[in-house]
Each structure stands twice: as structure tokens, then as C-alpha cells.
């Protein structure tokens, strides 16, 4: 546990170091802090005893923070949270490396807040106490708001405030839901606790009508963060306006807090509510996939395009979770990591040409392969990973999510029957075709074709410092290579990771088979009339 806390505190310590040291050292201190945090987490992962059991480690008692309210400082990982924390810790140094030339003003603040953001995300993933999770989850908003509002594009303030308000409103519902479950636990046992496992056990025992509201409240909180249609409108703006590194962390780690929240809280804590609302949630996920894909098709701003594709991809990821069977859930968790790697890398790539040409408009810019061949290689590589080319990481996750959804209804062998069926998968599958289309159009425009660059800056960039070469330089290559390796490795060798995820997802789903069976028995004889009046209101 001490090591986990160390990995959370190291970036904060580095942030304090950045605050008191001269500006020219800031980025190196930041880099050192994030690398140290990554190293510590790597040690944690190396020593992690429960890769194949789905248990949490360490499971020891933690020191209390506010004993009267049962809030403790308990941290620990299961496989899923450890993978996501590792992803965050891996991306942090890359983001900082990627910001070297992009950030020229208010440098120390930037790196300071970036470090704080990183530890806050790791805290959210590591937390074993619901309030601690909430602290990590919610505190990310402050640094991210500042990073967008200070270092972003022309509409940065609107984007930052919109992001803050959307997420804050959503997470208030989530907080209320968590407090409610804790209170129910207090009524039964007489003590306050926010231990996530205990609360999950309490939530499962609540009456179905209560779980319905519980699931709805938790879902609203996390759906804003994921984001699910129709709560996604803050995301494209935030992505578009954020500086490159901000977009990377936003897409790769912060959005994962939403999907992780579903995995950790909404689905296991209120399964009876989940069963009732599953079809609604799945329809919303599919709506996100199709709607965002269609927007991508006509999008001329490269960064917005990737942002909307993020909405579509995470819609698919959520669909995999909602399939309620191990295949879909494993795929979804795998996809969380994948999406972080490939979308993060795409944002980095776009940031690189934006730094050189100061435009992201695909109508103005084109044929960059002629001028930036190395960059073009990476861009094509990561786009392929994002499309889901077999052999790269995207394929595995997408295939499993769709496959899980497809077989959900008839998946009797695994013992985890779901509520979704082939039609859900077929409609969602359209999104993949659309994804291939819009991403290839993007490539066709900016990578291939005749060279088109803005007139104002004919070669490289006139105003920017001379550190930027025509093609990407060694530092920029260094930020992309680890991600490319990860894409390839996860694509070719997914099995170890899937095996490690499997026990966790099975644990998450443990209460669903019985509930789904009961739900079906109620549903089948008299389809519409026999439904719970609550479910009837919300089923479209």
C-alpha cells in the first residue's frame, strides 16, 4: 500500500518542486516525477500477486482518514484498475515530453497542474474507498479545467467551464448515490464505511426498485464522463480546445474514469437496476456510436474528428460492458486500455502537425506524407490501430465487444446470459464500417494526396522556435514509439492480458445470470404488460 501511495504522491511532490524551481527546470522535474511514479507503479505491478485471481491487492486494513464517517485511506488494485493506472502512468511522461515545444507561457503552472492531474487520476483508479475514489475522480476537474482554460484554443474558457459543469453535475448524482448506499449499510450494520466492496455487497441486497434508482444515478454520473449520448456535448469542445497533452490525458485516462466507474460501481452495485435499464443504456451506447460516426464523416477539423471518434469508440466499449457476459466485458476492459493508447497517440500526432502549421483543418492541409514521412508512418499506424486492423490492438477489443453483444442472448455455455442480441451487434457494427470510412478519409486528406499547406507558413513554421524540424524530431518520435510498441504488442499478444482481466469481469458479473433469468421469465410470457411499471416508463 505504501508503494501505491508513493506513486500517487511522487507527482505531487514533483509539482511542488516545479512550483519552487526556475522555469527552465520545470519540464525536467515534471518528467522525472512522472517517470518515478511510473517506475513505482511498475514495481507494484511486478509484485502484484493477484493477476489471475481477480482479487484486490493489498487487502490489508488502511489507516482511517475520518473515522466518524468511516472514510479511510485505503488503496489497492485489481487487475483492471492496475492496468488503467499503468496506462495513465505511462502516458504522463509521454504527454510531458510532448509538451516541451507546445507550452511556452506559464510553463511552471502547466507542468505543476499536469502532475497533479496525473496523481489524481491514479488515485481514482487505486482507491478502495468510495470517497477516496470520488476525490480522485472529481479533483481531476480542477487541473483539467485550468489546463484547458489557460492553454487551450480560442474558445477555451467556454470549453473548460462546460466540461466542469457537465461533469460536476453528473458526479453530484453519483455522490448522492454512494452516500445513500453507505447509509443503507449503516442502517443494517450500525457503522459507516465507504469500502467499495462492502458497499457493493450492500447495494446488491437492496430492493429492486431502489437499485433501479441507484443504477440510474450512478449511470448519470459516469455517463457524463464516458460520455454517452446525449450527455457527450462537452467532450468535442473540450478536446478541440485543449492543448495536445490535455487532449491525450482527457481521452486516454479521464474518460476511462467513466467506463471504470461503470465497471466498479454502477454495474456490480445495482445489478437489479442494471438489468431493468440495460436495454436503454445499450440503445444509448449504440446511438453514440452511430451519431458520433456520422458527425465524424463530415468533420473537417482533424482534432474534433478524433474527439467524436472517441465518443463512438467508448460507446462500443460501454456496449461490451452492457452485454453482461465475460466475452463482452473482457473486451470492454481491454478496449479501455486500447483506446487510451491509440487515441492518445492520434492526439499526439495531430498535435505535432498543429504545432507546425497552426491549423487542424483538413481542407487547408493535405499530403503531409511528402513533407513529414516519419510522422505519416506513425499517423497511418495509429489510425489503423484505431480502425481495428487485425494484428493491432483495436481489433481485439472491438471484436470482443461486438462478439459479446452478438452472442449475449444465447450465451448459455458460459453461464452468463445477457439481454442484448445480434441486432444490437449488427447496428453497432455499422459504426465500425463508418469508422473505417471516416478515418481513411482523414488519412486520405492529410497524409496522402497533393501537398497543401497554409500559405502563411510555407515551410515548417516561421514564428515558432527553431526546435521544430520539418519532420518530427527525435523527442517527438520518442513519445510515439512506446505507444506504437504497446499497440503492436497488445494486438499480437492479447491473451495474457485477457486472462488477467477475466476473473475481475466475472466477479463484476457474478449477480447478473440469476437476475437476467428472472427478468426474462417476467418478460417473455406477456411482453409489454408484465413489465415493471418503472421499466415501462423508460424503455423506448
Amino acid at each position: 500500500m505504501a508503494l501505491i501511495w508513493l506513486s500517487i504522491i511522487l507527482p505531487i511532490a514533483a509539482a511542488l518542486g516545479v512550483a519552487v524551481s526556475p522555469t527552465r527546470h520545470a519540464r525536467w522535474i515534471a518528467l522525472a516525477g512522472t517517470l518515478a511514479s511510473l517506475a513505482v507503479l511498475a514495481v507494484v505491478a511486478w509484485q502484484f500477486p493477484d493477476w489471475t485471481t481477480g482479487k484486490h491487492s493489498p487487502s490489508t486494513e488502511a489507516p482511517a482518514w475520518i473515522p466518524r464517517a468511516g472514510i479511510s485511506l485505503s488503496v489497492g488494485f485489481d487487475t483492471v484498475s492496475l492496468l488503467l493506472a499503468l496506462l495513465t502512468a505511462l502516458l504522463m511522461p509521454l504527454c510531458i515530453l510532448g509538451s516541451f515545444s507546445a507550452i511556452t507561457e506559464r510553463v511552471r503552472e502547466y507542468y505543476g497542474w499536469f502532475l497533479v492531474l496525473g496523481s489524481s487520476i491514479i488515485l481514482a483508479f487505486a482507491a478502495r474507498d468510495a470517497i477516496l475514489f470520488y476525490i480522485g475522480y472529481e479533483f481531476t476537474l480542477l487541473p483539467m479545467t485550468i489546463i484547458i482554460a489557460v492553454y487551450g484554443g480560442t474558445e477555451r474558457r467556454v470549453a473548460a467551464i462546460k466540461m466542469f459543469l457537465y461533469t460536476f453535475l453528473g458526479s453530484m448524482f453519483m455522490l448522492a448515490a454512494i452516500l445513500y448506499v453507505a447509509w443503507e449499510h449503516r442502517v443494517v450494520s450500525g457503522v459507516w464505511t465507504f469500502d467499495i466492496d462492502t458497499l457493493t455487497a450492500t447495494g446488491v441486497r437492496l430492493p429492486a426498485a431502489t437499485q433501479y434508482w441507484l443504477f440510474a444515478a450512478l449511470m448519470i454520473g459516469f455517463a457524463v464522463k464516458v460520455p454517452l449520448f446525449p450527455l457527450h456535448t462537452w467532450l468535442p469542445l473540450a478536446h478541440d480546445q485543449a492543448p495536445t497533452a490535455g487532449s491525450v490525458i482527457l481521452a486516454a485516462s479521464m474518460l476511462k474514469l467513466g467506463t471504470y466507474g461503470n465497471y466498479r460501481f454502477a454495474l456490480p452495485m445495482a445489478p437489479a437496476g442494471g438489468v431493468e435499464l440495460m436495454t436503454v443504456a445499450a440503445v444509448l451506447s449504440i446511438a453514440a456510436i452511430i451519431y458520433a460516426s456520422l458527425i465524424c464523416w463530415v468533420q473537417t477539423d482533424a482534432k474534433k474528428l478524433i474527439a467524436y471518434s472517441s465518443v463512438a469508440h467508448l460507446g462500443l466499449c460501454m456496449l461490451g460492458l452492457f452485454a453482461l457476459n465475460p466475452v463482452g466485458a473482457e473486451g470492454a476492459v481491454f478496449y479501455m486500455v486500447n483506446h487510451g493508447v491509440s487515441t492518445g497517440a492520434l492526439f499526439l500526432c495531430i498535435g505535432m502537425f498543429y504545432e507546425r502549421y497552426h491549423t487542424k483543418d483538413t481542407d487547408v492541409l493535405g499530403g503531409l506524407a511528402k513533407r513529414m514521412p516519419v510522422w505519416a508512418c506513425f499517423m497511418v499506424f495509429f489510425t489503423m490501430a484505431s480502425i481495428g486492423l487485425p494484428g493491432l490492438n483495436g481489433f481485439v477489443g472491438e471484436f470482443l465487444c461486438l462478439g459479446g453483444t452478438f452472442i449475449a442472448e444465447h450465451d448459455v455455455q458460459s453461464g452468463f446470459p445477457g439481454l442484448l442480441g445480434p441486432w444490437y451487434a449488427i447496428v453497432a457494427g455499422l459504426g465500425l464500417i463508418l469508422a473505417a470510412m471516416y478515418l481513411l478519409i482523414l488519412l486520405g486528406k492529410i497524409v496522402w494526396g497533393p501537398l497543401r499547406v497554409p500559405h502563411t507558413s510555407s515551410h515548417g513554421h516561421s514564428e515558432s522556435p527553431s526546435t521544430l524540424t520539418v519532420d518530427i524530431n527525435g523527442r517527438e518520435i520518442a513519445t510515439l514509439v512506446p505507444l506504437a510498441v504497446a499497440c503492436l504488442w497488445l494486438g499480437l499478444q492479447p491473451k495474457p492480458m485477457l486472462d488477467a482481466i477475466a476473473p475481475c469481469t466475472q466477479r463484476m458479473l457474478e449477480h447478473y445470470p440469476a437476475l437476467v433469468e428472472r427478468h426474462r421469465q417476467v418478460e417473455t410470457p406477456r411482453v409489454a404488460d408484465a413489465r415493471d411499471p418503472l421499466a415501462k416508463e423508460t424503455t423506448p
Binding site: I66, P67, R68, L142, M172, A176
Partner: protein, 534 residues
């Protein structure tokens, strides 16, 4: 009753008010020294005030012994041990805000030799003396054993603040604000004094513990009399003025805006603390859920809860106050008015603690109160530390881009707003969670939902105050903003701003303290009550 036993009964009471005596001493010294011809003597007044406050805070820790407290017949024997030091220390920080602003024009003129020193023109001594009196009132509330004491202590809190509003700054606006504040304050005093009178009429006693037992008897034998009920509701509504709660909230925006900023900071905390202390005491007399007392035969009789009319009144006060405060905060054009509405909204949250009742509700209320004091003082202190052409900051244009020239103040302002909105891990978040937990324990799920929605709404205006200084480009107005000559307001801003984080780290022990402070005294037996009657 012989003289020795009378003295024996008085001794513990005297021991408990030693901290107040220190403050009184400080007030006298300050008032006299303020007339001194020597500039040095006059400028040492804030220091003396602070020392008096800190000394009385320290003394409380020794003077407020459990043995003395248990003999004093208090409703909450240990309440003073937490409230008095907390209020005194925060008041000392509030003193820092005012350094250099009271009497500034007169002092400047005297220093430049443009005007001879005239003892009749300076008010600094009076200002700090009144400040000490006001704080003394809050501290005396912890010792209140009867309604008269309660009333006098509340008025001791309020009366000096009317004058502080008027003399703390310069120009006519503070005077206008003071007049408004005074007349509305007098109205509220009339209302709750009338309520107190009716309570006396209904119970035949002024002693709080005796009133508690009388109401308890009434409750088990057919409910509280109409007279008593009207008295209680009037007392509650009248006290709403002190805590800026609906329906007596309307003065707050005008008065906070008109008053000098450092006095507005004082108003946002000290009278509010007094109001909540008084409400807690009055409401304890009717009791919350799960109350019990010993009847004449020594049998424990239990009865349930706040009587419905009072519970409903408080519920509505809480719900309407927080909603009105937050919605009002959205549309304000100046920082101080926004903070005034924020103050109203937070009172609404705190009333939830009163609805929930002891033990958790009151503990959560007083914890929230102190947390609110720290956060709001930080916001006002950041404003106090800056000025524009000798005028205090007020409009949003004044704080836009504050970061460029005054980064530390901008960060402290942002931090205090983040804490006020309830962003973890700052103290505002912990206080809110603890309050919600208490509300859940009392079964007030509805109020929690309303409060949660309100928190989300409040994010809009807090975010504006937090983001503008950090992000917006500096405007023509904000370019003219300079630091005030005195460094102390800056110190106060940093202390409170950092305090929002530090307090949250030590929230566990602090909540433990509040919980033991709000433990109720043993119920008086009915026979003991009879012996008190003439």
C-alpha cells in the same frame, strides 16, 4: 441561601467566562489606546486585538474543564471548548483583514501633516473594541443557561456589528448599509424576543434546562401548547436574520456590498456563528428524535422529535434558503454580492444540520460552520488584499486577470471558491459529505437531494469567480489593481486558503472534537426541575 454557597455556585460560571474577561480587558485597552496621540500606539491596535483573541482562545483550553462545565447547568457542557477557540482564532484572522483600512484616510492625512491629530475623528480604537465585544458575544452564547443570557449575548454580537459596518470604511455607502442593517436587525430582534417571551409564558421559566423539561412534559402529555409553539417558531424565524436564512435573508446582499470588505467578511461568519449557536440551544429545548428524560418517579420517558410545525419550518427554511441563495448567486453583477448569496446558500446547507439534530447533525453543523468560516474568510481576504485606486474591489472586471500581477491572491481566491463549491479534497467537500451523512442518519434524504442539486448549480458562479482571475486577460480596470499597503490581509488570505486544504487533512480529529463538544448534558430529572420553580 448563604453567601458561601452562592459563591460556590458562581465559581464554575466565573471560571468558564475567563476567556470573555480577557476579551473585555482587551477591548478596554484597545478603546483607550486608540485615542493616543502617538501613531505607533494607534497602529498597534490590531496586534493587541489579535493577542487578546488568541490569548482567550488559549485560555479556553484550560478554563473550560469538564468539571466546571458540568456544574454550570449548560445544555451542551463541552460546546464552548470547541466553539470558543475556533471562533476566537478565526476572529483573529478576520482582524488581519482590517489592518490598515480603518481610519485610513484620516491616518494618511495626519501622516502627511495635512491635518492635526484629533481624537474625536479617529474610530480605530472603537472599531477594534466593538469587534472584540462582538466576538465576546459569540463566546458567551456557549455559556448561556437561560433565555435572558441568550438574548443579551446575541445582541452583544449584533449591536457592535451595526457600528462596525458604518465606521469600518469611508464614504456614504457603508453608512447606508449600516442603517439598513440596523433597522432590519432591530426588527428581527423584536421578533425573536417576542418569541422568547411567549416561550417563557408557555413554560413559566427562563432556564434552558427547565424549559427543556417543561416542553418534554408537555410533549408526552398532549403536545406543546399553542403559545409555546408560536413562541418557538417566532424565535426560529427571528434568528434566521443572524444566519441570513429565508425569510430574513434579504438584507445580506445590500449590506455585504455596502459594508467595507473586511467587515463583510466579519458579518459572513461571526453573526452566523451566533445565530446557529442560539438556534441549536433553542431547538435543544424542544428536542429532536430519540429524546428522553427522567420523570418524577425516575422512569425514563422518551418522546419523538422536533414537533411537526418546527421541523416543517426548518425544512422549508433549509430548502428555500439554499435554492434562493444559489439561484440568486447566478445573476449577480459583483463579487461581493455573489459572495453574499453564497453566504445565504451555505446557511441553507447548515440548517440541514439543525433539521437532522444531535448527535451527528449538530456536530456536522458546527464543523461546517467553522469550515465555512475558513473558506469565506479566504475569499474576502483575497479581495481585501487588493484595491483599485484606493477603492475596494467589487466588480468582476476588477478581478479578471488578477493572476498576472497578483498570482498568489488569484490562487487563494480560486482555492477558496473551489472549497466553497465542495471540490474534493478541500474542506468544503469534507464538511458537505459529513453534513449529508448526518442528514441521511436523520432520514432527510429529500434535503440531501436538494442540497446536491444546489451544489451543482452553485458551481456556475463559484467557477466564474475562480476562473476569471486565473484565465481571463487583464482588463483596463484590473490593470489598475494594486496591493493594499498592509501585508496582513495577504497573510490572512494565504492562511485561510491553505487552511482549506490543511483542515481537510486533519478532518478526522477535528470531527472527533466537534462530536464530543456537541454531546448533550445529562437530562435533568423532573424533580430537579420542580425544585427550580419558585
Amino acid at each position: 441561601m448563604s453567601a458561601t454557597t452562592a459563591l460556590g455556585a458562581l465559581a464554575p460560571k466565573l471560571q468558564l467566562i475567563v476567556p470573555e474577561m480577557l476579551l473585555f480587558l482587551g477591548a478596554v485597552v484597545v478603546a483607550v489606546r486608540g485615542l493616543s496621540r502617538r501613531r505607533m500606539a494607534r497602529s498597534s491596535l490590531p496586534a493587541i486585538t489579535c493577542i487578546a483573541l488568541l490569548a482567550s482562545a488559549a485560555t479556553t483550553l484550560f478554563a473550560w474543564t469538564p468539571s466546571a462545565a458540568s456544574q454550570a447547568g449548560l445544555l451542551f457542557p463541552m460546546l464552548g471548548q470547541f466553539i470558543k477557540p475556533a471562533v476566537a482564532v478565526l476572529a483573529a484572522v478576520l482582524v488581519l483583514l482590517s489592518v490598515g483600512s480603518v481610519d485610513r484616510l484620516v491616518e494618511d492625512a495626519v501622516a502627511r501633516g495635512r491635518r492635526a491629530f484629533d481624537a474625536q475623528r479617529v474610530v480605530r480604537g472603537e472599531f477594534y473594541a466593538f469587534l472584540l465585544f462582538s466576538v465576546m458575544g459569540v463566546m458567551l452564547l456557549c455559556n448561556a443557561t437561560d433565555l435572558i443570557w441568550l438574548f443579551l449575548a446575541i445582541e452583544l454580537v449584533s449591536l457592535p456589528t451595526y457600528i462596525m459596518v458604518a465606521v469600518g470604511g469611508h464614504g456614504t455607502r457603508p453608512q447606508e448599509a449600516a442603517i439598513k442593517y440596523f433597522f432590519l436587525g432591530a426588527l428581527s430582534t423584536a421578533v425573536f424576543l417576542y418569541g422568547f417571551a411567549l416561550i417563557y409564558g408557555a413554560t413559566g421559566t427562563l432556564e434552558l434546562t427547565a424549559i427543556r423539561d417543561a416542553f418534554a412534559l408537555q410533549q408526552v402529555s398532549g403536545g406543546i401548547s399553542t403559545l409555546g409553539m408560536i413562541g418557538l417558531v417566532m424565535a426560529v424565524l427571528g434568528l434566521c436574520f443572524k444566519i441570513t436564512a429565508v425569510p430574513m435573508h434579504f438584507y445580506a446582499p445590500d449590506v455585504y456590498e455596502g459594508a467595507p470588505t473586511h467587515v463583510a467578511a466579519f458579518l459572513a461568519f461571526i453573526p452566523k456563528a451566533a445565530g446557529f449557536l442560539a438556534l441549536a440551544l433553542v431547538l435543544t429545548c424542544v428536542g429532536w428524535t430519540g429524546h428522553s428524560f427522567l420523570d418524577a418517579d425516575g422512569v425514563r420517558v422518551s418522546y419523538s422529535g422536533l414537533p411537526t410545525p418546527i421541523a416543517a419550518t426548518l425544512w422549508m427554511v433549509a430548502a428555500i434558503t439554499m435554492t434562493l441563495g444559489n439561484v440568486g448567486g447566478l445573476v449577480q453583477g459583483s463579487v461581493k454580492r455573489t459572495l453574499a448569496y453564497s453566504s445565504i446558500a451555505h446557511s441553507g446547507y447548515m440548517v440541514i444540520g439543525l433539521v437532522a439534530g444531535p448527535p451527528a447533525g449538530l456536530a456536522a453543523l458546527f464543523f461546517y460552520l467553522v469550515a465555512y468560516g475558513v473558506m469565506t474568510t479566504a475569499s474576502f481576504a483575497a479581495l481585501c488584499a487588493l484595491e483599485r485606486k484606493g477603492e475596494e474591489l467589487n466588480g468582476f472586471g476588477d478581478i479578471a486577470g488578477m493572476r498576472v500581477k497578483h498570482p498568489v491572491m488569484a490562487w487563494m481566491l480560486a482555492m477558496s471558491q473551489a472549497s466553497l463549491v465542495g471540490l474534493p479534497p478541500l474542506i468544503g467537500f469534507v464538511a458537505k459529505v459529513y453534513l449529508f451523512i448526518a442528514a441521511f442518519e436523520a432520514g432527510q434524504v429529500g434535503l440531501v437531494v436538494i442540497a446536491v442539486l444546489n451544489s451543482a448549480v452553485s458551481a456556475l458562479y463559484y467557477l466564474r469567480i475562480a476562473i476569471l482571475p486565473l484565465v481571463a486577460p487583464s482588463s483596463a480596470r484590473s490593470d489598475e489593481v494594486t496591493l493594499v499597503p498592509s501585508a496582513w490581509p495577504r497573510v490572512a488570505a494565504v492562511v485561510c486558503g491553505v487552511g482549506t486544504l490543511v483542515m481537510s487533512i486533519f478532518a478526522g480529529p477535528i470531527i472527533g472534537l466537534v462530536r464530543s463538544a456537541t454531546a448533550e448534558g445529562p437530562p435533568q430529572s423532573a424533580s430537579a426541575q420542580r425544585s427550580l420553580e419558585p
